[in-house]
Symmetry: C2
Subunit: 482 residues, 2 copies
């Protein structure tokens, strides 16, 4: 967006907020209540019907009508639940489907919870089969059945197909808006055929060339179609090396291919090379962002959380992670408990032991991050894994000697006990090596188990470096100092 | 990629590896040394000239010639330095520029370090001004001056422009391959004009409509160009509401706009609305990935690291982070040191105190993650920040009572001391609240200081929850238990 447009969006949001204040005041006058929103307003149509005459409301509705569905979704996401539902009631129903598609999962659920069956059916009517499939997990069972009945035969097959693929596969992300042509016709015929369509599907940078059985033969780029003389035959200008995907392939690998080969669209084919759908860069970009988000949330044990959901709901979203960490922390605490006698005799151990655990955790997390990234880019294989492990261990050795010496020196300085300093050095060195080994092996192991190595590696790593750190440091202290 | 294609790529890599073994054997025969790579081989041309007759080498070179530059870059990234430079020497020089562009920063530097001035000049000759600008930070000073002299007047201006914008702005990411048309001509004229170009620039989904002074008037989508009858004038079918950017705008906001409005390309205009460049989805996808990567690396204090760089170089890359964390860990350790008397009297404190620190750190990191995400999507503003802080504090209260009770109960059970359990509960509750406050305020503060809130927030948070955790728990214990 240019600054001008950005200002424009910002000012739309401000307008909505101001209009909301006006509407609240107005509605307040009508209803003579302060907190008029919530259970009092049963259906968004009720509100619409009742106050459709009201000038401010119409003003706001006009603003909303002129906005892109993605902008409306963004505004809704920024609003607390009560304001959100008020504005949602004002969005014209022909935009409902698109706004639902654009909203985040958590916010979408709050919007759907506010709609009745008729509204939901009306919203889905505007959508393609692949878009309905995206909404399906959030729709009530009964509504899906109704939607299914309202579709044409082709759309039903498409919806069934889209729903049959697991999340994060190409099949779940693909759409069905592919434009196909035959190889034996001239470009002129293709152009006349396209002119009969009112509009090309979004992201159409190439047409898919298929035979009578819909088997993929190649692709005709729109660029070639335009610059080549119209008498040329499709087969003379099409490219036959087309990057294509299978519906049950992982979306992640499709994303890599889109990035690597700078694709805008690509055909999806079945086992017989028959074209069944299309992937576009739009879906890929959405996937990449969502994947990155889920990963960063997953690392701290969260699922997608509406910024404005209730305290109770948010608290519950955070429990599993806290419970797991409380468990590992108690385990580490029991390790310390084994050495209570030593600590009683040399209380400096209590102050120094968290350092040994923390630095190895930090260093190990660096290893985890690098290995997880290398796994994502398929840079690790059987041939180089051993060499990488050796390298990480060597780095841990270097850093262990260096930072262990620093820490040991300060321990000596603080407590005037050189033996304590030496134990500190040795324990840090050993625990950094534990961190490197665990930081390298845990992501590889999770990957092998078919799990996302980005999620869970850190918890397991910290668990190891904490417990082992306490064990090594306090164990050595017990042997040599007490 | 379909599985077939994937297999194909994998087999290319295997072929290269096998060929490498062969080449190594062959070169070993010629040079009678084992580790023949390194200083012995001065220039990649030498190697090429000397062994160009060798069958295996030619076989490998043919394979490389048939590959996409991005695939070559990926293969190079997977190889230890010696193998990497050998293969790099075999890449034909007309592909050098593209491979350099596709390689990661760290790997690119190893490749450039291996090239002489002539080779670098030859490599840049194939590239556009915006691509040269991408390589510029890694090129030796002298080479840039030479490259500059070799360019045309227009390209020089473009290169200067591209280099003048800071990293991560639209200006640094834009290209100059925009196709512009006038609004008063017919589509037929546009089509004839395009046919004279041999090929449209990649990602051309729309033509930019400008007037005589290059001022942006609108955009003509290729889709409309194709489906509309050729007699129509451009101004009758072009859209005038074109999402556009300024060159000094942040790339992040452009990325959001591309995602939100599903763009493939968009014009970049100066303050006078004159078109100066073009953003494409390809650049945006690269930016998003790189940004996400840098963020995940930055969180653990790393810059981009070549998987196969030397141990010494990798170790140094990790130092700053370890030093910072060692500093904060020592500070926390000094806090514990303040209470050594209490610990001596009640050694259970030593075993329990890490739990109080850890859980608040985990819980605070959940808050940090949610707030950083909300900041990235501009979901936090003056109106809702206070409400969000209240919510996070309320969640901390709920979780503090719940998990504090669990932890307090186990402490009571383990040590048979109910007062200790109660201190545990209270300390965990208070420290969770510290974690929530710091986890919310630190990212907001970093953002306000113009820094990336994703980087650094966690360190500051852990520092607070560790130090405060020890202070609160040991302080309360000293007051009530000892």
């Amino acid at each position: 967006m240019s600054d001008v447009e950005k200002k424009h969006t910002q000012s739309s949001i401000d307008t909505v907020r101001r209009s909301l204040e006006d509407i609240k005041a107005t509605l307040g006058k009508y209803q003579h209540i302060d907190g008029f929103l919530g259970d009092q307003v049963a259906s968004r149509r009720d509100l619409g019907d009742e106050f459709i005459q009201e000038k401010n409301l119409i003003g706001l509705q006009d603003k909303l009508d002129a906005m892109h569905p993605a902008d409306i979704a963004a505004i809704l996401e920024q609003m607390p639940l009560d304001e959100r539902l008020l504005v949602w009631k004002l969005v014209r129903s022909n935009l409902d489907g698109d706004v639902l598609l654009e909203a985040s999962d958590a916010v979408r659920q709050t919007l759907i919870a506010d709609m009745d069956v008729q509204e939901l059916l009306a919203a889905t009517e505007q959508l393609d089969a692949d878009e309905i499939a995206d909404l399906a997990p959030d729709l009530p069972e009964g509504v899906i059945a109704d939607v299914f009945r309202s579709l044409s035969e082709t759309e039903r097959l498409q919806l069934k197909a889209a729903l049959s693929y697991p999340e994060d596969t190409v099949g779940a992300l693909m759409d069905f808006e592919m434009v196909t042509v035959r190889e034996d016709v001239s470009l002129d015929v293709v152009l006349r055929y396209l002119r009969r369509l009112e509009k090309l599907p979004p992201n159409t940078d190439k047409l898919f060339v298929v035979d009578r059985r819909e088997i993929l033969k190649g692709a005709l780029s729109i660029s070639d179609l335009i610059v080549t003389s119209p008498e040329t035959k499709v087969c003379d200008v099409m490219s036959t090396a087309v990057v294509n995907f299978n519906p049950d392939q992982e979306a992640e690998s499709a994303a890599h291919a889109f990035e690597r080969y700078d694709l805008v669209s690509a055909p999806v084919v079945d086992a017989h090379n028959r074209i069944v759908g299309r992937m576009t860069i739009t879906d890929i970009v959405d996937y990449i962002r969502e994947d990155a988000e889920q990963e960063s949330l997953g690392k701290v044990g969260l699922r997608d959380e509406d910024l404005f959901s209730s305290v109770w709901k948010s608290a519950k979203n955070r429990w599993l992670w806290l419970a797991v960490n409380l468990g590992t922390a108690f385990f580490a605490s029991r390790v310390i408990g084994l050495f209570e006698d030593s600590i009683e005799q040399l209380v400096a151990l209590a102050a120094l032991m968290p350092i040994v655990a923390a630095i190895a955790g930090n260093s190990g997390n660096q290893t985890v991050t690098l290995i997880v990234r290398a796994l994502a880019f398929e840079e690790i294989n059987k041939n180089n894994a051993k060499g990488l492990l050796r390298k990480e261990l060597a780095i841990a050795l270097v850093n262990g000697v260096l930072w262990g010496s620093v820490a040991g020196f300060f321990a000596w300085l603080l407590y005037g006990n050189i033996a304590l300093g030496l134990v500190m050095l040795s324990a840090m060195l050993l625990n950094l090596i534990v961190g490197a080994a665990v930081g390298m092996l845990v992501p590889l192991f999770l990957q092998k188990m078919g799990r996302d190595p980005a999620i869970g590696s850190s918890v397991l790593l910290t668990f190891s470096t904490d417990s082992m750190g306490f064990l090594i440091f306090l164990g050595m202290a017990t042997l040599f100092l007490v």
